[in-house]
Amino acid sequence: MTDRIITYAEAIREAIGQVMETDDSVFMLGEDIGIYGGAFGVSGDLYQRFGKDRILDTPISELGIVGAAVGAALVGMKPIVEIQFSDFTAQAMDQIVNQAAKIHFMLGGELSVPMVLRAPSGSGTGAAAQHSQSLETWFAHVPGLKVVMPSSPYDAKGLLLAALDDPNPVIVLEHKLLYKTSGHVPEEQYRIPIGTSNRVREGDAITIVASGVMVSRSLAAAEELARGGVQVEIVDVRSLSPLDMTPINASIQKTGKVMLVQEAPKHVGFMAEIAAQIAEGPALYSLTEPVKRLCGLDVPIPYAPQLEKSVVPQLEDIVAVALELKAGI
């Protein structure tokens, strides 16, 4: 395999381009994905390569865009919708939740909606409360949707290619802070099965469970903790629906301590589900300390950089809470 270092955004673009070259049913639609190249530059030169009919620029019309994708998917197309900021999915929620998610089941199983909906998610850009949310729990709570959160360029490509093979609606929540980060990505196509968690670091002291940008932040925290002799194990929940608990339970059985790190507000967040499944599962009695959650504050994301940083777990927060958990505080 030809391995290069490319960015997360380039990995996504490469996956889309590779599939569009061989599959005429795949097309992309969204706001400013044409000549502009996408608000975060993901579509880039795809417009020049594939033309305006397959990289379909749309008006600002999220409900219409997603509805059009659902309709096209029902009759044999494979649309990739880009919603400019994941916050704007709120404008399109009927088509995502009441239509795309339900059609296969509710209509008896003959139809399905093979749609991929990509949306930049998360905070850290100073864009404030309506452009910075982490809404994964909304989607993960709806039967019929699959939800993935790639945490690296490698996963961004592999999960997107898997999403494009999937006959069901798949929500891909990409993190804005990751678009410009780089990593090893094979040029060839490869698929990461949706529904697999990934152990991204080995350790024996504490298990950290995280998604999205919290994975790279936890990895950075782990390096600092390692300098103090604390080796943490990190499991990346890159697929929220379906959810794979196996590596999480296996890790807890080894470490006896688990810390759940989440950017989204704590109350009813996805890590509450992980905590519940730990409590219901085989690793419960391996725990020597209560489950620890380190989450976003239950407030809208504020604008000022010092405010924004203070509501979302930062590297030093992860280190501090990990040390507390290690010490049994």
Partner: protein, 337 residues
């Protein structure tokens, strides 16, 4: 299995002037009427569960529009959708089985009255969300354009749907992309209890097409010929790649909105007045006046469709109940390895 004969567009002139087209249209009108009356009766006798929204009085819209379509064309439908399903050619037994919560129903008992879809006849699904099907129709039309077919998509919806954002977003997308879609509004004067006079400031919903830059027409929705004539023009326009049309069909539902309706918002006089404009009686009279069909021929069609609905009830009643064992494995389609 039991379904009506496929609707036929007359090669020239109006539906009522063409013997085969008229026979098929009358069969559609009667099948819808008998199906809805049967459903109403089964519900009243406690033999049917849930709720339903009946199309009695509105049969000419689905019939007139679908007479202008091919089998390979698509439709999206609404909570009041039995008429669209039947006119597009759905199997009455599978429809009745769905309403009777049977495993052999179109949705295997998971959808009920508001969610019938039929892939074979291009019915992409009724919809429990007002206006939910309109953007989906635009998307299905976008796909036809991308694939280079000359199939068209019809989206049926009610007057109430035209106040939803989804209606406006879908019409705009269809307009800017010249999509082969026909927006058919069944204006039955009421969105549940709210009249169109209450809910909008314009006289006719067809006026709304102007703000998106394509034609909008208002027709007598209780006249099969008027509906078909408008649909034919719109379908031809769509097939030629000239873009969408909005057709507003003025009609009336004789029954309430759903099972909870006590008809407090409209008068008996109004209901009785509209019953005098019943689309089926009018169509039969036209056929006899024109000499297209005589009373015996009409009676034969009426009897045939009555029997078809009876057969649907019998066959559906004998089917097994829907099965909870398959629920968890039915939420997602399996990924092909």
């Amino acid at each position: 299995m039991t379904s009506i004969a496929p609707l036929i567009s007359p090669s020239a002139g109006q539906v009522s002037q063409d013997v085969e087209a008229a026979k098929a249209a009358l069969e559609s009108l009667m099948a819808i009427r008998f199906f809805e009356e049967a459903v109403d009766g089964l519900f009243a006798r406690g033999l049917m569960h849930g709720t339903m929204h009946l199309s009695i009085g509105q049969e000419a819209v689905a019939t007139g529009v679908c007479a202008a379509l091919r089998r390979t064309d698509f439709i999206t439908s609404t909570h009041r959708g039995h008429s669209h399903c039947i006119a597009k050619g759905a199997d009455l037994t599978r429809m009745m089985a769905e309403l009777l919560a049977k495993q052999t129903g179109y949705c295997r008992g998971r959808g009920g009255s508001m969610h019938i879809a039929d892939v074979e006849t291009g019915n992409l699904g009724a919809n429990g969300i007002v206006a939910g099907g309109i953007p989906i129709a635009a998307g299905a039309a976008l796909a036809q354009k991308m694939k280079g077919t000359d199939n068209v998509v019809v989206s049926f919806f009610g007057d109430g749907a035209t106040n939803e954002g989804a209606f406006h977003e879908a019409l705009n997308l269809a307009a800017i992309w010249d999509l082969p879609v026909i927006f058919v509004c069944e204006n039955n004067k009421y969105g549940m209890s709210n009249s169109t006079e209450f809910s909008m400031k314009i006289d006719q919903i067809s006026e709304r097409a102007a703000s998106y830059g394509f034609p909008g027409v208002t027709v007598d929705g209780n006249d099969v010929d008027a509906v078909h004539d408008a649909a034919k023009v719109a379908v031809e326009r769509a097939r030629l790649g000239q873009g969408p049309t909005l057709i507003e069909c003025m009609t009336y539902r004789h029954k309430g909105h759903s099972k909870s309706d006590k008809n407090l918002y409209r008068t008996k006089d109004e209901i009785e007045n509209w019953k005098t404009k019943d689309p089926i009686g009018r169509f039969e009279n036209t056929l006899m006046e024109l000499g297209t069909l005589d009373q015996d021929q009409i009676d034969a069609i009426v009897e045939k469709t009555r029997e078809a609905v009876r057969t649907a009830i019998t066959e559906a009643s004998e089917a097994p109940d829907s099965d909870p064992a398959e629920l968890l494995s039915s939420v997602y389609r399996e990924v092909r390895k």
